[in-house]
């Protein structure tokens, strides 16, 4: 049997060289020669733009912006609120509101359930009031982790209520947008949200109140064609995709490749549709400045003077 085993195995020439190779003291020593510390995978993130590995802790300290190339990673709505508002100042509105399958759209019930599980949120937007740099404001932050921030009836309702609250209480509104557009699964009723929210924005505007939008990656479709573009001041995070029709749809329609950076925040700035591109690390400072310039600090200062 032993002999038979031998016959079944071809002699590999590399084995001979391996055999003849003199022993190198520095090889085959395993981990002991590694001169950098062992780091578990989940603590590393690879930047999708510069491809460099970044320590998760460094990334978090840097507002989820790549320290090497400045790429702004997408962040969830809760984290956005945390880095934007004054500590413990956020009071949420309508947290319990959630969508149902209103037109019996196939698979929507399951999709909604998954979206809730994945995002641990009830809808694609979080609304409330908060202080930013000491200034009172109403805030709406969309969430890409919930069905890519698509706008359904509840999204529209929460945003509309936020504007109505702000109008009643003479407060400014800041909306951070991120959205794939209207939510197809709610049919025409999702389209109607564009009109509904625009109506509430207009009433707020006619009351002489400030509305700032902050466009983040990606803001497209029905959200772009409604409240995202209706701000008195429109800010954007660097490199964010901002579009009415997404790049793939356009490429399919016109059958040609789009230029690089087409529909980026910087492109919209150049074309005159964005007021200012603001890095995430500067966002709170910029918002505070704008709120103060619109008299939002006046009340606080007056009180201090009393």
């Amino acid at each position: 049997m032993l002999y038979g085993d031998w016959s079944g195995e071809a002699l590999n020439t590399s084995d001979i060289f391996n055999f003849l190779k003199p022993k190198n003291e520095l090889e085959n020593q395993g981990e002991s020669v590694e001169n950098h510390p062992f780091i578990p995978n989940e603590l590393w993130v690879k930047c999708p733009v510069c491809k460099n590995p970044v320590l998760s802790s460094d990334l978090n300290e840097n507002f989820k912006v790549c320290p090497k190339c400045g790429y702004h990673f997408r962040i969830g709505a809760r984290q956005r609120i945390e880095i934007t508002v004054d500590a413990e100042s956020f009071e949420e509105f309508d947290a319990e509101l959630t969508s149902t399958n209103i037109i019996d759209f196939p698979d929507y019930t399951r999709k909604l359930k998954n979206a809730k599980l994945n995002s641990r949120e009830n809808e694609s937007v979080i609304t409330g009031r908060a202080k930013i740099g000491g200034c009172e404001t109403v805030l709406a932050v969309m969430n890409s982790q919930f069905m890519m921030g698509s706008m359904g009836t509840v999204t529209g309702e929460k945003i509309t209520r936020a504007f109505e609250y702000a109008t009643e209480n003479s407060l400014p509104v800041i909306v951070f947008t991120v959205s794939g557009g209207a939510r197809m699964q709610e049919g025409i009723l999702s389209l109607m949200q564009m009109a509904k929210t625009s109506g509430a924005v207009k009433r707020h505007s006619d009351a002489g109140l400030l509305y700032i939008t902050v466009l983040t990656d990606p803001t497209t479709g029905g959200v772009t064609a409604s409240f995202a573009m209706e701000g008195d001041i429109i800010l954007s995070e660097p490199k964010a995709l901002i579009a009415f029709a997404g790049p793939r749809v356009i490429e399919q329609t016109i059958r040609q490749k789009l230029p690089k950076d087409f529909q980026s925040a910087e492109f919209l700035l150049e074309k005159g549709f964005v007021d200012k591109v603001v890095a995430r690390s500067e966002m709170k400072k910029t918002l505070t400045k704008l709120l103060i310039l619109h008299g939002c600090g006046t009340e606080a200062i007056e009180k201090e003077g009393d």
Partner: protein, 256 residues
């Protein structure tokens, strides 16, 4: 008639277009006005002033074109931002001169292309939605063929929205819906059902006030009764004071 039959009928080449409605209802009283005063004149959108039973009315319509040559000229009824801006300019003009606005909508959607994006398609539509919500004069919008998403809504923030029997109104085209849902753009019929885009469905959902009977041909008596209905509706809407009118319009959309 299935939802898909409506989709086919709404897109049929021999279907009357906006120009037909304008001609049949307003005869030669319609004076077309051109341009958005910013960039260009978008031929996909027609606008002007006409006379309705002796009273002036601003008419704005998306025109697909009645033959291939016209369709190419009109960009198949897909407006660019300048089309929506022309519409808004004419609406503001109507507000100034206290005449009501009548919109005919027939588009597969706002155009998606490089120029449209560069000139702010999203911003142009958004501005129309906002401004129409508080335009201090009655607005009536009638979907006569296709009502494609934001591009249709930009002319349909109105006090009343009507639909021709076989017109459709949807947040996304059935093809787009099918390709997202089933990765198969040929399942248009199934998608048409799911989207609830027919006049019957939309009436049930409370998105439109009235379903208008289809004209069998251009000599149809339908156009006369349609004209009467439009005039009566403007009379009714003009009887409200501005504040009531605007509150009603706000609440019309607030309920969705």
């Amino acid at each position: 008639m299935s939802a898909y039959d409506s989709v086919t009928a709404a897109r049929a080449n021999d279907r009357p277009t906006a120009i037909d409605y304008i001609t049949k209802i307003f005869g030669n009283s319609f004076i077309e006005l051109h341009g958005d005063r910013h960039y260009a004149d978008d031929k996909a959108v027609i606008g002007g002033i006409a006379e309705l039973n002796g009273k002036p009315v601003t008419v704005i319509a998306i025109e697909k074109g009645r033959n291939l040559k016209e369709r190419m000229e009109r960009n198949f009824g897909s407006a660019h931002p300048e089309g929506y801006r022309k519409a808004l300019r004419l609406m503001k003009q109507a507000e100034k001169f206290h005449r009501p606005v009548l919109c005919f909508v027939d588009t597969s959607g706002a155009y998606c292309g490089i120029g449209a994006e560069e000139r702010g398609q999203g911003q142009a539509i958004a501005e129309n939605l906002m401004e129409m919500m508080t335009l201090k004069t009655p607005i009536l919008s009638v979907l006569i063929g296709e009502g494609g998403s934001g591009g249709a809504l930009a002319l349909a923030v109105a006090d009343e929205v009507w639909m021709l029997e076989n017109a459709i109104y949807s947040v996304i085209s059935p093809e787009g819906c099918a390709s997202i849902l089933w990765k198969d753009s040929t399942k248009t019929a199934e998608a048409s059902e799911c989207l609830k885009l027919t006049s019957q469905d939309l009436f049930k959902l409370g998105v439109i006030e009235r379903i208008i009977r289809e004209p069998k041909n251009l000599d149809s008596v339908m156009f006369d009764s349609f004209k009467t209905l439009i005039a009566q509706t403007f009379d009714k809407l003009e009887s409200f004071d501005t504040e009531t009118l605007l509150n009603k319009r706000y609440n019309r959309f607030r309920k969705y």
